[in-house]
Amino acid sequence: MASEHPRANLPPLSLHVPEPRFRPGDPVDFAAVDVPAAGSARRPDTATPAGEFHELAYTLVRVLDDDGQAVGPWDPKLSPDMLRRMLRSMVQLRAFDERMFRAQRQGKTSFYMKALGEEAVAIAAAYALDRDDMCFPSYRQQGLLIARGYPLVEMMNQIYSNSGDKLGGKQLPIMYSAKDFGFFSISGNLTTQYPQAVGWAMASAAQGDTRIAATWCGEGSTAEGDFHSACTFAAVYRAPVVLNVVNNQWAISSFSGFAGAEATTFAARAVGYGIAGLRVDGNDALAVYAATQWAAERARTNQGPTLIEHFTYRAEGHSTSDDPTQYRSAGEPNAWPLGDPVRRLKDHLIAVGEWDEERHAAQDKEVAEEVKAAQKEAEKNGILGHGLHQPLDSLFDGVFEEMPWHLKEQRQQMLDEETASGRPWARK
């Protein structure tokens, strides 16, 4: 077909396919990552309309500076006690992850996922939200449970699918559910929790409640349609919800460019939807706390949703199923310009004279012991053992509230099979 518009002199089209800066073997230099000075971002009043601070979606809200001081308008001015509690939770999370990762490697369970390097994101948010605010997490916010005091033993029981597992061994390890702790059942399917959080928040608003919702997904997951549906609903109904995007740079082997990061920030998604957007140093627990507190206040005062991008780095593999050195440079984690969130909070506490290396080392030991003891306790209930810790007839529980005839028949069939197999399983 001939074109009416002559284009003989145009070069042919070419398809752009993003490529990360570093691949295995490449030396790493993150100089191109723009890190604005701590304290440089302004902090609008929480009643400010979302359209009046678009620049906050393109900078980084940072509180902790290189000397460990808290600076600027976003400093949440937390008590030393609160800072120490946050630090302890972060240390707990790290120790817990380390131990459970190892348990998987020892064949004690099928799967595990760490949050190494991004501990501040979930922990600081948990402290900034109210205890009865409802969280709709992804699989990498186990820090919410730890900060809210969910027993480590219960988490481990779930990871082991053992006889103490409150989810009855039905879910993949780490796919917790803890209603009493304001923690929604985790899905294996990405970003489904986003519109659900918005719905919960809309219900809370419709009922004249005071509780708000918060949700998290990874930067890679923002590509899913659910993310965009959630943003639209949140904007339209001014839902009291905090939408968190954890930009840890990687989605399994795909760098953030495959979710759109070459063109703009994730916080900037908010601009298009007309909702408040903040971009935050995710390795700065104080910045995460301050941003969450600010967003929560907006939500609680009917100012609507806020989208927060937490700029951080996934310091380990995606899960126990991948080896990150296959697709990214091994030098990346150490070169990450925003440092280690645990270390930064610790340095801050030391800088303000509220902590010291000895206490930190002692706490590390104490937490390690605590996690070890929890593991011992959990292992009394068994480790993943081909279902042998779960009552066989529990398989059919929870499909429906009332069991229909066909499931009853199938359950009987299963029990007959067990008898025929000559290999007895536990029964309820």
Partner: protein, 360 residues
Amino acid sequence: MGAQVTEVSDVDTIETAAVETDTVRMNMIQAINSALDVMMARDATVTVMGEDVGYFGGVFRATAGLQGKYGKTRVFDTPITEIGIIGVAIGMGAYGLRPVPEIQFADYIYPALDQLVSEAARLRYRSAGEFTAPITVRSPYGGGIFGGQTHSQSPEGIFTHVSGIKTVIPSTPYDAKGLLIAAIEDNDPVLFLEPKRIYNGPFNGYWDRPAENWSKHPGGAVPSGYYRVELGKAQVVRPGEALTILAYGTMVHVCRAVVEEAGVDAEIVDLRTLVPLDIETIEASVKKTGRCMIVHEATRTGGFGAELSALVQERCFYHLEAPIERVTGFDTPYPHSLEWAYFPGPVRIGQALEKIMKDV
């Protein structure tokens, strides 16, 4: 099949359209990789896309090495949006490419449902053939790997219910390669479900016995070049007289192990393509044996087994000497720890076998 393969057993009757002489040992992942490689080399419009399929080569390594060989515009990572992946593949198909999108796990195909069901499956019909969707959607499916609810499902029945999509499920590396090539060459949308439990070796259904690999199985001998296994053609993988077993994917191997152990002379028909179904092979077998057992891992109610059962009843009723038996997964979500209680393993199949043979 190539002359250097000598360990072909009597129970295997692989028919082959191979034009190559060179036959090598492959597992199912390597066979799929080889099919993609062969097709990308033959046809510059074949384009591979999906989450983590590019540099990394896929979470199961099925696309390993392809980006390096064919470049980033023909093998590329995608944003994590399954509906986007399928929609974009349809658009590329409309341009004239032959996309082979991967959905990382079949459990993640649901977000893509609208583009598959309302678009890919309907394009030819609604545009009077002006537009078609010559896409092949690859996706690992099935359980037995402790993947929990969202890494274990068998959703084939959802798609066999949709008119306009072909559904293909291989059970050996040989079939996987030949069927995938035929699927890519097909001008209609094909859902190509890969039984991931048998990626590395056939599975007899006993989770506590040592894992096997493909090195001794006749289906692990794979021509290195181009060949097709035609869509819509089942294969009798074990001829027999006592009853007919209809199965596909992993369950073909489990069934074979069970009947060998039970000493029952079953005829096992590996369907290979669910839609369009090879009804002639099924009919001929059931009319010969007079008994029919249907085995799949997917949940029971409304599963593909129900369709098979109806067809056999409609067409072979006067030849049947016993009620048709269906052996399936239970109607629950796929559990994590009780996976082997869920799985339609040797005991469940064995009991059905006893039942269907009891009047003999």
